[in-house]
Each structure stands twice: as C-alpha cells, then as structure tokens.
C-alpha cells in the first residue's frame, strides 16, 4: 500500500513538469555536436593519414625496392642498406640502453632508501624524457661525434639514442617491478635468499613481460626517430662490407632516407619508405598491446 500515490497534486503539472519530457537545451545539443565533430576530425585524420600513405606507397613496394641499394649506374632505388642500418642502430641501442634502464629501475625500486636521491633521479628521468630529439642530436654530435672522435657513425647514433630511450625503459621496468607482489619478496628473503638472488630468480622473471613491452616500445621509438640521427649516424646507404666495421661507418636509417627523399622531391620513393615504416610501427604497436594484455590477464588470474 505504501507504493500508492497519495500526495494530492494537480494532474497537469505532473505531466508538464516531469523530468522525462523536459525540453532540450540548445547549448547541450550544440556542445554534443561539437564533441562529435572533434572526435570525427581526430578519427578522420588518422584514417586519412594511414589510407593516403598506403594508397600512394603500396605500388612502390616490390622485391627490387626492398633488396637493393640506391645506384645511379644501374638506375635503381632500394632501401636494403637503410633496413640493415636500422637493424644495426636498434640492436646496438638496445644492447646499451636495456641493462642501464633495467638496472636503474631495480635501483630505484629495490635498493634506494627513498628521500632526496630518488626524487633527484626521478626528476632527471622525467626531464630526459621531455628533451626533444633535436637536442639529443646536437649533444650526440658534440659529445660522441667530436669529443670522443666517433664522427658520423652508427655507434654515435646508437649511443645518442640509448640516452634517449633510457627513461622509457626505466619507467616501464619500474611499473613492472611495482606490480610484483610484496609477498614474493618477503617469501624469497624469508627462506634465506640473498637480495641479488631474489631479484635474479624471482623479481626479474615475474616482471619480464613488462620489461619486454618497454623494450618493444623503445624499438618503435628508435625506428621512428630522425632528428637525433641526422647529425650523429649520418646518411650512408651502402651495404656493410664487414660485420663489425659497419659500426664505425655512417649509416642512415629508414627515416633519414625518407627525409632525404623528401628533400630531393622524390615523393614516390618517400611514400614507399613511409609504407614500410608504418607497417613496422603497426606491428610493434600490436605486439606491445598483445604482450601487455597477456601480462594483465595473467596477473589477474594468478
């Protein structure tokens, strides 16, 4: 009986003032339209970019394009040299940056006692990730290229990029280490493991998917980088003569070659390289997504 409407109200007023048929506000519909418009612009731009690059570039891709080097005698244009250079730069950068980044994250998360030191390190890491790549390029050019006398070489480029991707690897590793439950640590230490043994056998394996995701993101950053490499790795496009000697020679990555093509107004070749780059970036993105997704569901299940 309590549900019965007992309040004496005028019937009409209920219908007229009901919140269910309140009139629409003009400003509301305007703003909704604006929100949809902006979202449409963003989505349209993205699809437009991808579509345009693929449409213009796919016809450029063929076996010769991927397996030769530019040659004025044969009149061919290919990017094999740049692909090899990119692989060199990625590998060397990761070999340098991964241990440093992971080590730094371990220090911050496991060894550091907190306080001022950690704040300073975290501030500088933050700063490092905010510095634009052109500044890294200038620094690498002066420090590695001139002061250390490495000149324009793949090593100079890789050393410069290692500083650049360091904060990325540090941060993702730190995040991964934070998700390892505290009980793992106390458990391992409680049964007598030393700290380094605990880190090596318990922490690092548990945090591995997160660390790998960080490394993959770093690869994406290196592949897409150009400003930091222009004055450090140079623009060589010849295939390496010797495996190790190449490290000290100049070598332009795919992005540098793309930039040079743009400068010379060879837009068709440029679009071909752009397609290759986009495919790599897409693959890296997808892989990182897959890994972090897998990691997350595993963490939830356990």
């Amino acid at each position: 009986m309590t549900n019965d409407l007992t309040i004496p109200v005028h019937r009409d007023s209920i219908i007229l003032n009901s919140i269910y048929n309140g009139k629409k506000r003009v400003s509301d519909s305007l703003l909704t339209a604006l929100i949809y418009l902006c979202a449409l612009i963003s989505i349209f731009i993205l699809i437009g970019i991808m579509g345009y690059v693929f449409v213009r570039g796919v016809s450029q891709i063929n076996v010769a394009f991927l397996t030769t080097v530019p040659s004025t005698i044969k009149g061919t244009f290919g990017i094999l040299g740049n692909i090899v250079n990119t692989l060199y730069v990625v590998t060397i950068t990761l070999v340098i940056a991964t241990p440093l980044g992971v080590g730094s994250a371990i220090y911050l998360n496991e060894y550091a006692k907190g306080g001022k030191v950690v704040r300073i390190i975290e501030f500088t890491t933050e700063t490092l990730s905010g510095i634009p790549s052109i500044i890294f390029g200038l620094f690498g050019y002066v420090f590695f290229g001139t002061t250390l006398g490495l000149g324009y070489s793949i090593l100079t480029g890789a050393l410069t990029l290692s500083i650049m991707v360091l904060p990325l690897i540090t941060r993702t590793t730190q995040e991964a280490l934070k998700t390892v439950p505290e009980s793992y640590r106390s458990g391992a230490l409680g049964i007598g493991a030393t700290k380094w043994y605990m880190i090596r056998t318990i922490l690092l394996p548990s945090a591995m998917p997160g660390i790998v995701t960080g490394i993959i993101l770093a690869i994406g950053r290196i592949v897409g980088e150009s400003a930091a490499l222009l004055f450090t790795a140079g623009s060589g496009y010849i295939l390496p003569k010797s495996f190790l000697g190449k490290i000290f020679e100049s070598g332009g990555t795919l992005t540098i070659q793309l930039y040079l093509c743009m400068q010379k107004a060879k837009y068709d070749e440029a679009f071909g390289i752009a397609v290759v780059l986009l495919v790599i970036v897409l693959a890296i993105n997808g892989f990182a997504k897959y890994l972090s997704h897998k990691f997350n569901t595993e963490a939830k299940e356990s």
Partner: protein, 312 residues
C-alpha cells in the same frame, strides 16, 4: 661453535662479494640519468655560449637580420624565436580544444565499444614517425595553401610567394602531432574523476552535457593542464615534421610567410654551417633547451601539486 658460522646472525659473512657488486652496479645505473642530464646541460651551455659573446648577446637575441653567409654576416635570431613561440601557441590553440573534446568523447560520451576502437587508433597516431607527418604536410597541405595564397594575394606585388610552405601549414602539422598526447592524458584525467561526482550532479538535475562541462572537466583540470604543457613541449621541440613544411627563410611569423623555427633552423643549416655560423646554431639549440627546461620545471611542479592533492 661450529653451528654459529651457519647462523643467520653471522653478519659479515652472509653478504658475499656478488651481493655488494650488484648493489654498486645498480646504484651506478640509477645515477646514469642524472649524469646524462648533467652532461647534456653542460655541453649545451658550453657550445651555445661562445657565439653569444662573439656576436653580442643583444645582437643575437634581439637582432632581426639573419644573414649567416653574407660578407658581413649578421646573426639575429629574434624572428626565429618569435616563430617558435607564435607557432607553438597557435598549434596549442588549434590542437588542445580538438584533443580535449575528443577525450571527452572517449571518456564520457562514446559507447564502450566505439571507444575501444578509437583509443588504440589514437595511440597509433602517437607512434607514427614524425617524418611521415612532414611528407603528408608537403603533399597535402602545401598545395592547398598555395591555392589559397594565389587567391588572397592575387594582385599584390609586395608579397613573396612561398609555394605553400608557410606558417599555417607548419602550425597545422604541429597541431595534429600534439593531438595524441593531449587526448591520452586528458582522457586519463577525465576517467580518474570519481563516479559519485557525476552521480551527484545528475541527481541535482543537471543534464549530461552540463555535468561534463561544469563538474567533470573542472575536476580533471590539473590533468588537462598537464596535457597542455606536455603538448607544448612536444610542439616546440618538433623538428623533422615541419622542417620542409614551414619554408626556408627567416621571416616575421605571419600566416602566409615562409618561416623558420628554432628546430628547423638547426636541422636545415647544420649540415653546411661552419665556424661562427655553427656556433650560432648551437646558441639556437641552447635557447630551445632553456625553453624545454622551463616547460619541464612547470610540468614537475604541476605533477607535484596533483600528487599532493591525490594524497589527501
């Protein structure tokens, strides 16, 4: 006595050499970031300051004539600095409203399924190499700008035609490039606004749109400001995407002028510069570095403020 040596209270013996080595190595790794930032700062300062004194601080920072190759060279970078400031400000003005609206769409308006498709797409936008943006800028924006230019300055005899490589093109490319940063960070900020804020507002009779603009966005203010500051940093530091789109002469930053940014001046002149010219380019780098450091300090204090608020 024998058993005592196995005791966990053994002290010195329990920590082996490897343990100490590991700790020392990790500590060194930890300080590597500090070392890197310190050496970058020192190198930027030492290679950027000589030209300041050789040319004269006022001449270089407030001079408006840039003729590095003339017989009597003059190195005024005022217009270059102004271009970077004006260009970044315009890019923020265009990019931030679109970015924030898109993040509102993703966090509040869009159905879950649609948001799940759009969000990774936006993240992908952040991963596209900057040279590709430049390539598209040259081939799509510049011709449009050239058409506009031909129409607007049809009878003008004083206007220098740029072929479409002008400030507007560069600003549009920059605005596009900061979109992913702004969208991602503001969306995170919007999502972290507690649900009961929205419920309370809706219960008071506010419409959904009123709730978004009067309750949710003000509550996420600090996150959105962080997004804007990060976007500013990205825009002012971007080099390769706009180096060919913005034209190649030093000019007052007006919409249809071919202009040069701090970053593009370095990119396009470094390869052939020598002597004093090169030192001046490093000074330009130093100016850029100072801008970036200022942005970093602002960002850091913003983050600290946000952190304190969350701790309460």
């Amino acid at each position: 006595m024998q058993s005592k040596s196995y005791s966990i209270f053994g002290g010195h013996g329990s920590k082996s050499g490897i343990e100490h080595a590991a700790e020392v190595i990790f500590t060194i790794c930890g300080f590597f970031a500090v070392l890197a930032v310190a050496s970058i700062s020192i190198y930027m300062l030492t290679s950027g300051t000589p030209a300041l004194f050789k040319v004269g601080i006022l001449d270089i920072l407030f001079g408006s004539v840039w003729k590095p190759d003339a017989a009597v060279p003059s190195f005024g970078i005022l217009y270059v600095i102004l271009t970077s400031i004006v260009g970044t400000a315009l890019a923020i003005l265009i990019g931030v409203p679109i970015g924030v609206m898109t993040s509102v769409f993703l966090a509040e308006v869009a159905p879950q399924k649609l948001a799940d498709i759009v969000r990774p797409a936006v993240e992908l936008l952040a991963g596209i190499p900057s040279v590709i943006y430049g390539l598209l800028g040259i081939l799509i924006l510049n011709p449009i700008m050239y058409d506009l230019e031909l129409k607007i300055f049809k009878g003008s005899s004083t206007h220098q035609f740029t072929g479409g490589a002008n400030l507007i093109s560069a600003v549009l490319v920059l605005a596009l490039m900061i979109l992913p940063t702004v969208i991602n960070i503001s969306e995170t900020a919007l999502r972290s606004v507690p649900q009961h804020f929205r419920s309370a507002s809706l219960a008071l009779g506010a419409t959904k749109i009123q709730t978004i603009f009067h309750v949710v966005i003000p509550a996420a203010k600090s996150g959105i400001i962080t997004a804007i500051v990060l976007g500013t940093g990205r825009a002012i530091g971007e080099a390769m995407a706009i180096s060919l789109v913005s034209g190649s002469s030093v000019n007052i930053p007006l919409p249809f002028h071919s202009v040069r940014f701090l970053t593009t001046a370095i990119v396009s002149e470094m390869s052939y510069a020598s002597g004093l010219h090169k030192q001046v380019l490093f000074t330009i780098g130093l100016v850029l570095f100072i801008f970036i450091m200022m942005i970093n300090v602002i960002l850091n204090s913003l983050l600290k403020k946000g952190g304190n608020k969350n701790d309460k």
